[in-house]
Amino acid sequence: MGKVEILHALDLRLPAGRWTAVVGPNGAGKSTLLRVLAGLLPTAGTVTLHGRDLRDWPARERARQLAWLGQGEPGAEDLSAYDVALLGRLPHRAWLAPPTEADHAAARQALQATQVWDLRARRLGDLSGGERQRVLLARALAVQAPVLLMDEPLAHLDPPHQADWLAVVRRLVAAGGTVVSVLHELGVALHADELLIVRDGAIAHHGPCASPDTHRALQAAFDERIRVLPVQGSWVALPQEEPIHADRDTPH
């Protein structure tokens, strides 16, 4: 099969200890970018983690540094929520060794952080979409990696649980963690420290969320079909039925 270049001319530094939200229109290459950062896709260039080429990291060591939460992860229907969370400890466990106290503690903390501790004995296949998503987030949190990459982690989450997710991310970042998340929910993405706007397989803009430049770039990336507005100290993005033009109020 032929190879298709999805991303091009990428030169990007993601600062440690910050939350970067990756946004952009459908098909822009956001998920591909995240998969490249996780070392899941081949690239012509290099991705470095703590200054070292990702391909040079031993697999388990890399796994302890870099946790991943994919989009709509399939399967594991028959595992209990607890066993799923415990899978996040695999990079920490010696081969054939049973989980240690620390592993159980990490799984418990993660399940409590995402409010699914009470569901721990249930089959993953029996949970609702939102509950399942929170168990999978707990699995990624249980890795306790300093860097966490998440592809559309808010899928299936209702607004209160989106707010809970936001709190989890804030805690991680406050503790020195680095979070990179692909988000469709621009209202949530605008809470991030930095916004990475991807369009047509390239980086259209990378800057602080609060900056007017970033807001303008965001509006442009969506063909001026959204408008970023301040609401009670934070920002929201509202969809527009018609593109916003400077002269739109001018009568014809």
Partner: protein, 331 residues
Amino acid sequence: MTRAPWLALALLLLACLALAVGVSVGSTGFDSLRHALQDPVARQIVAEIRLPRTLGAWLTGALLGLGGAVAQGLFRNPLADPFLLGSASGAMLAVAVALAWWGAPAAAAALVPRLGLTGAAFVGALGGVMLTLLLAQGVQHTLRLLLAGVVVGHVLGAVKDLVTLAAPEVLAAMVAFMLGNTSLIGWQACGVMAAVLLPALALAWALARVLDGLSLGEATAHSLGLPLAPMRAALVSVLALATGAAVAQAGLVGFVGLAAPHLVRSLARLTHGPLVVLSALMGGLLLAVADIVARVLIAPQELPVGVLTAVLGGTYLLWLMYRRTRGGGGR
């Protein structure tokens, strides 16, 4: 999680019970067991026929149950079958070619061609898997592997049909093989299957965490630092060896490999470590019981055990689908 050891114990005890019933049941009835100590013929019936065939049925079932659990984990598909990688069609083709070559069916009854057939089935099963791997260009892509297995199954099946068309006299012997039969399993076959089962089970258990990781998708498994390529190759070897050994000794015994892991999962929520072990125990029990039922159902005639497992397994599968569709609305 704590249920697994009890379940294992129960399955082992039931297997012992099945073994006890298995040596008591046959065309000469319970008398053979009663006179086994005095009568050399009765002793031979019990020790050389009933005991190895019952144990052989258990071992065949255990191999298929293990293969089923590995296949379902590897392909992340609860309907995956241990014969999915072309081992069944490979074995059938090899047996058809061997029979045509020796001019069976008269010769097939003799010992040497019988061993030759077993060997041919084993080589054929492994050959079928190899061809699938070749077509799929390795074990990297699960979907490609699955598709290649289906293609190989159809192509080798068609070649087997051509062979049987060219040599129609092998058809009767082929049918016996295709229906699955435990009646000819002797101590040697038991030895071969046990020699495959133990290392295959140990390897599958050691690699179970890869199956656990894979259940969350390939990307997540990779992100957890699992070296997927070599481990997948090892799991495919387990699958090929287990099904190859089973199909070579007992022919095509369907549905045990599919049903055993499902039965285990319906009894307990398990990670793949205990699941592969318990699926082997469950598969063994299923086939040992099916073997007994096949002997008594239309006694003194015998049903091919494969027919029985297909009927029972097929019914179970229909029930499973019914239950899933009925309970699946909320999922």
